[in-house]
Symmetry: C2
Subunit: 340 residues, 2 copies
DNA sequence: CATATGATCGAAACCGATTTCGATTATTGC
DNA sequence: GCAATAATCGAAATCGGTTTCGATCATATG
């Protein structure tokens, strides 16, 4: 039978308020009655209704998860999924559950702020690789605590986490440099991709930092982050007749596409061209050559996002940002350096 | 300013009940007042509180998502994630949002039934590759509509979807057969994995169906579904000195591990041994040889799960199960058959 | 022993919606 | 023009909790 607080109160012979106080650890209730009530709660398997509680307290212990940008793409993207996984875990430890807004055309599709109010979420995390939409800006500027993942939120109750893109690029250039490469190329996505742009900017600056010269001819772009784009970009580079000795791709799939294009033209990786990808997706370990890449600390990004959001919700911080250090994963696509 | 139904009523000069009726498409309100109220709702951006609504109606329009089995593993598993993605999309169209229960030790960790009551979910989807836990059985037998993904739920208000494992195996054996192979082996996971067992059972039955004899020597098992297990299982098979001509692996990673072991011993795929994997993960297209595999229709599984759950919630069905047809994806790891 | 103090508990208002049912007004038929 | 009927609207109870504040009782103090 479905229980509620009134029935528990009756069974225990106390008032509703007393039961409520026991559930919320108030101090003005004797040990004796507390034990009696808790026993009954145990027996009946009573669980308080979240909606009634939320209605009364205006706290839901719910975190909204928003995939901004293209419909549902991010949900199957390994990077975001792993960050989210870690975030979910940490948020669970902190006592929160996650609610996913479906962004269908059904109703109020883009109106994230309304939906946050609707569900009384205590805060939300916004996952996006794209540029800011107006609906996200509305949320960012609201009183609802928000954390962006790879998305720069700057509102009063907002913060964000992302990998240090300058460090990513810097580690790539350093690795190339130590292997003796001086002619560095880049394969990115389209110009409206924040992530690709940040990686390219970091790369350019790292190249200068190592005293190398950048050749714009060696910087090419595909239509997205997927393999065919890498293949196409690399092909155009090959046809230009002017090849760099080493190439950094803004994603592993772009890198894999580049490898395929090179192999097809009889060029060898890493002997003729060295390649470094980015993200460390699962496939990197199973290709030939296996792919040297940059791994972002997805677990740490998730944990940091959770803690920042928690602090924001409990007014223990003013927002801000955290940047996480990436790691270079050395495999075969650049050679060992020792064999030279 | 935060709105509620009372303020809207005052602004429009009507009663609270009238506003509520307008929000819920009752017929006993005139066009004139309806328009007036809707205008005010539009201006103020009012959104009704879900908790108040749930409290009053006992419907939440929320679907609980439960990852049973090992902590969080499934969230990063490409198969489940894609099914879930499709499910989420379809459920969104039907007007539902998703809530993910965090299964941390925090509180009531395994008590899924309580948590469903707590959140007043209208139904839930349970994702699992493992065997049934008691907490899941409790849910299955409850009055709460449940759909299992790759999990046989048999309760009165339950149902499940899964791929047709016999058809999977049957397509594999047929492909091997048409390529001329008569000596078929298998690499699976542990004995407590329902999925691996079902695939093996289907395989055995399909071998018999094609009039072939099964050799238990060629059936080996790893500790899980991952690549190292495939490598280990294949290695032991190689060391036994008695190799089949074709091997079906219960997952793509097991298949990839087997390929690595074969290559290391100087054996060629597919010339010496043909391999078929299962799941069609992303990496299959980037390995060498690219991996022939069985692709499950994840999108359709998600859509079916959503519709079954919807019908269950609205008492339009009595539960049951749906089985989805898999597809053979031919790549290089079995050869073309034409080149023979 | 009278009083002050602290411990324990409950009555009632409130959160923001839904829904029933009766009241009021407008419309129709004759 | 009047009764019957339909259209329109609102008062109030309800859902299941929280929280304030006052009441009651036991204990400590002088």
């Amino acid at each position: 039978m479905q229980m509620n607080i009134k029935k528990i109160a009756e069974m225990a012979g106390v008032s509703v308020s007393t039961v409520s106080k026991i559930m919320n650890n108030y101090s003005d209730v004797s040990e004796k009655t507390k034990r009696r009530v808790l026993d009954i709660i145990e027996q009946t398997g009573y669980t308080p209704s979240s909606s009634a509680k939320t209605l009364a307290t205006k706290k839901s212990n719910l975190i909204g998860v928003i995939f901004a940008g293209e419909l549902n793409v991010e949900f199957t993207h390994p990077f975001f999924v792993e960050v989210l996984n870690s975030f979910k875990k940490q948020m669970g430890v902190l006592g929160y559950d996650l609610i996913f807004f479906s962004n269908e055309k059904f109703i109020n599709s883009g109106d994230y702020y309304s939906r946050c109010l609707h569900f009384h979420v205590d805060g939300c995390v916004i996952i996006s690789g794209q540029q800011m939409e107006p609906a996200i800006q509305e949320l960012d500027r609201s009183h609802i605590p928000c954390i962006g993942v790879d998305l720069e939120l700057t509102g009063k109750k907002s913060g964000y986490v992302m990998s240090d893109n300058y460090q990513i690029a810097s580690k790539v250039v350093e690795h190339f440099y130590l292997l003796g490469h001086r002619e560095l190329g880049f394969i990115g996505s389209t110009a409206d991709s924040d992530i690709s742009n940040r990686r390219e900017a970091g790369y350019v600056s790292a190249i200068a930092g190592f005293g190398l010269v950048m050749n714009p001819q060696w910087f090419v772009h595909g239509d997205d982050f997927f393999e065919p784009s890498g293949y196409a970009a690399m092909s155009s580079l090959i046809h230009s007749g002017d090849l760099p000795k080493a190439i950094f791709a803004a994603s592993d799939l772009l890198a894999l596409g580049a490898v395929r294009a090179l192999k097809e033209q009889g060029l060898r990786v890493p002997e003729d061209v060295a390649i470094i990808g980015c993200d460390d997706i699962e496939a990197c370990q199973y290709t030939s050559p296996t792919l040297t890449t940059i791994r972002q600390n997805k677990e740490r990004l998730g944990v940091l996002a959770a803690h920042m959001l928690f602090d924001l919700i409990n007014n223990q911080s003013e927002g801000g940002s955290f940047v996480v250090e990436p790691a270079l994963i050395v495999r075969e696509s650049c050679g060992s350096g020792l064999s030279r």
